[in-house]
Amino acid sequence: MTSPAAANSGAASSSPWHFFAYFTAHLHQDLSWLWDHVWLSALPVLAGLVIALPLGWLANRYHWLYPPLLSIAGLLYTIPSLALFVLVPPLFGLKALDPLQVPIALTVYSVALLVRVVADGLASVPDDVAQAATSMGFGPLQRLVKVELPIAVPVIAAGLRVATVANVSLVAIAGTIGLANLGQLFTTGFQLSTPTAYYPPIVLGIILCVALALTFDLTIVFGSRLLTPWRRAVASR
């Protein structure tokens, strides 16, 4: 326990290594920010995947669609996140500050990234495999779901990893425009640092963000391995 004097002078409690004490002292608040951060990072990627799957399929099926779709995706991905956050409301007819603006913006990013990944993943399916499936009596949809998508899983998973890890950092940026998530820890730390540096919330925020990104990354790697048992048999990686 730090004495009030120590807390006032900020000597002991402002050490960067006291982030855990800070965490336990503000447990309820921190966990709620962490939870907001989790769903704000994960849901847009899932929504993005749902939208990107048909688009990527189209881009792969009709080759003339690939360049324009990919150019639009590239343009969207070029827009800096903070700009996209504030541009979403007027474009989607929302209020200037709407709780949906950040999830929508992040979904746009995820779609932009994943369209290319899905198209390239489907393109990576060897032709003879697709033909073998057809000759075994698979219809187009069945072939897509049972043969082509499973083969594309590693490529799509790689894209999902990029998208989720990026999202964790982007959500923290959304914190600077007032959204409740781990980014608030940085705002808190910055505000508490006016006379002298107060590290615990800042360090805690960085650690939780990195831990979250790693957790997502490992989950996707693990999920991708579960979905592709045949890859372990080949042992090429």
Binding site: P80, V86, R116, V165, A213, D217
Partner: protein, 260 residues
């Protein structure tokens, strides 16, 4: 709302600076200044390093190490460095905010340039490299006259994604009391002046798109046509930074944060 934003953007007084107001032109200049400094420093560090690693195949772990930086939340690192550095800077300068910002921007710009340069040199056809050596070229000559020009498309995609990353993060630097186009976004937010906030967003997006377009033009003029014809990534480079983020990832994808 869109009409208000348009009005904010087209109001002449918002573009020029007065003694107590920094206009769009000055903030734009500041934004470009931060970004150019950071990309230049990153280029000086990452380009030779990437060429060396790609050419020799040594120290490849450095590329992986640089890529792990991307998992760090940029705002968090920005605030942390500011809190560490700012109290040591006295006087009427914004160096206390500028230095941490530049450090973060450089840290963000290094990974894409480094890993793309490395991947570019690495992707040069074995037989091409051998042919160059067989013609009597020294290692230096192979690197300068064969590997470097052949890896230019990938180096450029790295440079482009680094530039975009830097422009995006320089916007967040306005969250600290620092200039740049992000100023309008954060000031608009604080004053509940939404046309200003959204107008700032339009300006930042425009700066990013124009920068990418200019770099794409430079790339088109610098990269030999013999190469662009050969690379199937032609379509991909037209697609911009997404391609930049994913082109070198034939093998396992590294943790890569493309936008921020």
């Amino acid at each position: 709302m869109i009409a208000n934003v348009f009005h904010w953007l087209t109001t002449d007084a918002h573009w020029r600076s007065t003694h107590n107001y920094t206009g769009i032109l000055s903030q734009l200049a500041a934004h470009i200044r931060f970004s150019v400094i950071a990309v230049a420093i990153a280029l000086v560090i990452a380009l030779p390093l990437g060429l060396f690693i790609g050419h020799t195949g040594r120290a490849t772990s450095l590329v992986t190490a640089a890529n792990t930086f991307r998992a760090l939340p940029s705002v968090g690192v920005l605030v942390l460095l500011t809190v560490i550095i700012a109290p040591h800077v006295h006087g009427r300068t914004d160096l206390g905010y500028l230095v941490p910002t530049e450090i973060v921007l450089v840290l963000l710009a290094i990974p894409p340039i480094l890993s793309n340069t490395y991947a570019g040199v690495q992707n040069v056809d074995r037989t091409t490299r051998d042919a160059a050596a067989a013609m009597g070229m020294t290692g230096q000559q192979v690197l300068r006259q064969v590997e470097f020009p052949l890896s230019l498309p990938l180096i450029f995609s790295g440079l482009r994604s680094a530039a975009l990353q830097v422009i995006a993060t320089a916007t967040i630097a306005s969250y600290l009391p620092l200039g740049g186009l992000g100023r309008f976004i954060y000031d608009g937010l604080a004053q509940q002046d939404f046309p200003q906030m959204i107008g700032g967003g339009v300006l930042v997006a425009a700066l990013a798109l124009i920068t990418d377009g200019v770099l794409a033009l430079v790339q088109r003029n610098v990269v030999s046509r013999g190469i662009t014809g050969r690379f199937t990534t032609n379509v991909a480079t037209a697609a911009g930074p997404v391609a930049a983020a994913l082109v070198p990832l034939g093998a396992p994808v590294d943790v890569e944060v493309a936008a921020s």
